[in-house]
Structures are given as structure tokens and as C-alpha cells.
Symmetry: C2
Subunit: 240 residues, 2 copies
């Protein structure tokens, strides 16, 4: 099966959570938005704007797997999980993994809203004072709440703190790795301060980064650098 | 099976999406947060703050079904769907229903952020000018985009525009009903203007409201009124 990932080009974005799962599993896939020979951004827009589509995605990323087209990161990962062996077979454990992914998605959405509190339709430069206020609450309340939660999940995992769910790598571990990478890019100072409180989460992220498939991916041009057109943005004034 | 719904008392909130599914199916359930004899808000907090919980919820709502405790509205509905016969058995249709639910969840989150652009930690009164700016973008861009999307899904459903997914009622239909109810409460003027563009969505909402179980529920004290401690809030200055 050759998977086709449709996402905006030149940013990791929310597409990265899907990319990491595909890369960790060594899956055959094409990153359509970043691959001109596969159609590039035009192909993403064509599918997105197909007025007659029976099951249209609301927004990228979406995944094509044969006849299946599906959107929403957590939904895509729930589909890919068993196929890529990145989730337990036990239904209760699979639901728990999905629940964790949905909470990661909430953290990602809030990370974005820090630099766009007034809305994504206006440039950051037009909402800088508001972003500063939102960033303060994010750094002091939301960031510790989200990361403290994942730390607690790791500490309470009866199979040990190496993974969020059960005793094996899941797509939620990969997503937590990327959430932490994004937050460290966007808020290096806040993340340095919170570091001592989340040793298990940081250790998980370090281990994910050294898995052979992931290490090879991170060193490749397929891993796009974070930048200020993306979900996670580094604006020094938001991270004093 | 007696289900236990755990959610903050006295607001419909995100718990309402779960309540509607339970009510539509005539399921046996207790709304713990609103039922002092079941423990009320203290019982919600106790489960939420259980430091040793193996699979802790990040936030309400969460559902107890026997030994199962699960959180995140879309995850709860995915679990309840087959049990309450509120989703198709076909896996592809079930995934599509879930995908729609996740997009409804995104619309709900944005509806909340309109009145709390600077963050949920500060009172609305301390972020009124910012809320006005965010509301303007929401009314003019995001609201038409989300509702136009669901209208298109209904128009393109090969089984007809009566339901979002397939030919039968699903939990996504119930959730769209509540999203529209909340938006009509919060933004009556904007919703009046957009009405002619979303006839199928409004017709679906009307039909949901007249289903016997739902009509009985809406007329009962179990249906909590919208109010300004909730996700959907009516502030006239945000809906000129």
C-alpha cells in the first residue's frame, strides 16, 4: 500500500504527526504537497476544493489509502495505527491511545492560538499585544497543565514510563515527541524552566528521536524545519 | 448498562453532545455532575483529580461504562455509537462519522475562543475589545466556512440530505443539531443572515428536535439552558 499524505508544503504543521507515524513504520508514502512530481500544492487544493466530493475533508492534512480518503489527524492515526503496528490490538488500549492523541491535538491547537489569538485571518503583526497576553497565560497555566498531564500518564502507566500507552511504541508517543519538539522550538525558555518537572516526557522524546527510522528521517530533507508560517512559531517576545 | 456521564454542572457545555446521544437512544444514564445523589460536582472532581489514575481524563466530559472510563467527546461518541445504534456498522462510514464529529469539535472550540481570545483564565470582561475583533472574524469567515462545509456534506450525501453520514441518524447529526442551537443562541443575528445558505443543515436540526426522545428531552429539566458560563455565550456586542 502506498499512502498519499496531503498537506500544505514547506511546514511540518499538523501533517507532521502523520509523517512521523509513516516514517517510524518505514511505510511507503508520498508527501504530495511537498512533491511536485505528485502534484504538489495544486493537488492538495484540488482535492480540498472538490465541490462534489462525497466525503470532503474540512482541512488538510488528509490521507489517501487506496479508495479511502480521510481527514483529521487523530482519525488518520486511528486508521493507520493497526496497519503500521503503532497501536495495541486491545480495543480499550486503542481507545486510550486515541484519547491521548485527541488531547495532544488540543494542546497543538492552543499552541497555535498563542500567536493568533484574534484569529488566523489576521497577520501576527496585527495582534502582537494580544499574543503577548495569551502567551503569558499559555506559558504559566496551559503548558504546565498539558505537559504535567502527559507526565502523569507516563508515571502511572502500569507497564512503565517508557510509553504513554502500554509497553510498546504507539503513534501517541510519536505525537508527544513532536509536540515537545514544537514547544521547545517556540518556547525554549519556558520549556527550560518546566524541564525538571517532566523528566519522563523528555526522556520519551529523546528515545523516539534515536529510533533508527526516526533518526534517519530527522536527518533527511523530508523533515521540514519549524518556521514562522507554522503551528509552532518562535517569537522571542512571547517567551521572555 | 447504566452509563455515568461526568461533566460540570449547570451548563450544557461539551457534555451536551454526549447527553444528546444517550437521550436519543433512550439509554439508562446518570448525569453525575447535575445529580447530588450521584455525588454531584465533587464526584466529577474526585475522578478528575485522582492522582494515581491509570488512564486519567484531561478534562470533562468523561464517561464511565462499567470498568471503562473514557474522555474526549468524539472518543466517547465513537465508543457509544455502535452500542446506541447511532453509527453505521460499516467501518468506512463509522470513520467518516467520527471525522465529522472531530470537525464539529473544532467548530465548538472556535465558538468558545470567540469570547475568550486571550485565554480561559481571564474573565470575559477583561478581554472584551479582543473578543469583538475575534468575533468579527468568526462571524464573517469561520462561521460560514464551518456551516458551509456541513451544508456541502449534506448536499453531497449520496443517500440524501437528511443525514450527514448515510441514510440513518448518527451521533454526528445530533451534534450538528446542538452546534447550530448553540450558535443560534450566541449569534442570533449572524445566524439569521447565514440561514438562507444552509437550508439542509437547518432542516436537519429541525428534524432532530422533533424526534420523540429528543423532543421529550428538550422539554425536560434535564436539558440545561444555555448561559454565559458555557461554551456558547450570548454577548450582544459580539453579534451586531
Amino acid at each position: 500500500m502506498r499512502y498519499e499524505l496531503y498537506y500544505w508544503p514547506q511546514i511540518p504543521g499538523r501533517g507532521e504527526f502523520v509523517r512521523l507515524a509513516l516514517e517510524a513504520a518505514g511505510a511507503d508514502y508520498v508527501d504530495v504537497g511537498n512533491d511536485e512530481s505528485a502534484g504538489g500544492m495544486q493537488a492538495v487544493l484540488r482535492l480540498l476544493e472538490d465541490a462534489g466530493a462525497e466525503r470532503p475533508p474540512f482541512a488538510p492534512p488528509f490521507l489517501k489509502a487506496g479508495d479511502v480518503v480521510l481527514a483529521q489527524v487523530a482519525n488518520i492515526l486511528q486508521f493507520l495505527g493497526p496497519r503500521l503496528k503503532l497501536v495495541a490490538r486491545d480495543p480499550a488500549m486503542a481507545r486510550w491511545t486515541h484519547q491521548l492523541q485527541l488531547t495532544i491535538a488540543d494542546a497543538v491547537a492552543e499552541s497555535h492560538d498563542v500567536h493568533h489569538p484574534i484569529g488566523a485571518g489576521e497577520y501576527y503583526e496585527r495582534q502582537k499585544p494580544e499574543a503577548r497576553r495569551r502567551a503569558s497565560e499559555f506559558r504559566e497555566q496551559r503548558l504546565p497543565k498539558f505537559l504535567g498531564y502527559f507526565e502523569r500518564v507516563l508515571a502511572n502507566n502500569p507497564r512503565g514510563p517508557a510509553h504513554l500507552a502500554g509497553a510498546r511504541l504507539s503513534y501517541a508517543d510519536l505525537s508527544l515527541f513532536h509536540l515537545l519538539a514544537g514547544l521547545r522550538y517556540a518556547f525554549p525558555n519556558a520549556m527550560r524552566r518546566i524541564g525538571p518537572d517532566i523528566p519522563r516526557a523528555l526522556a520519551l522524546a529523546s528515545r523516539v528521536a534515536t529510533r533508527p527510522n526516526i533518526a534517519a528521517y530527522l536527518a533527511s530533507p523530508r523533515r521540514l524545519p519549524f518556521n514562522e508560517n507554522d503551528v509552532f512559531r518562535h517569537y522571542p517576545e512571547l517567551d521572555p
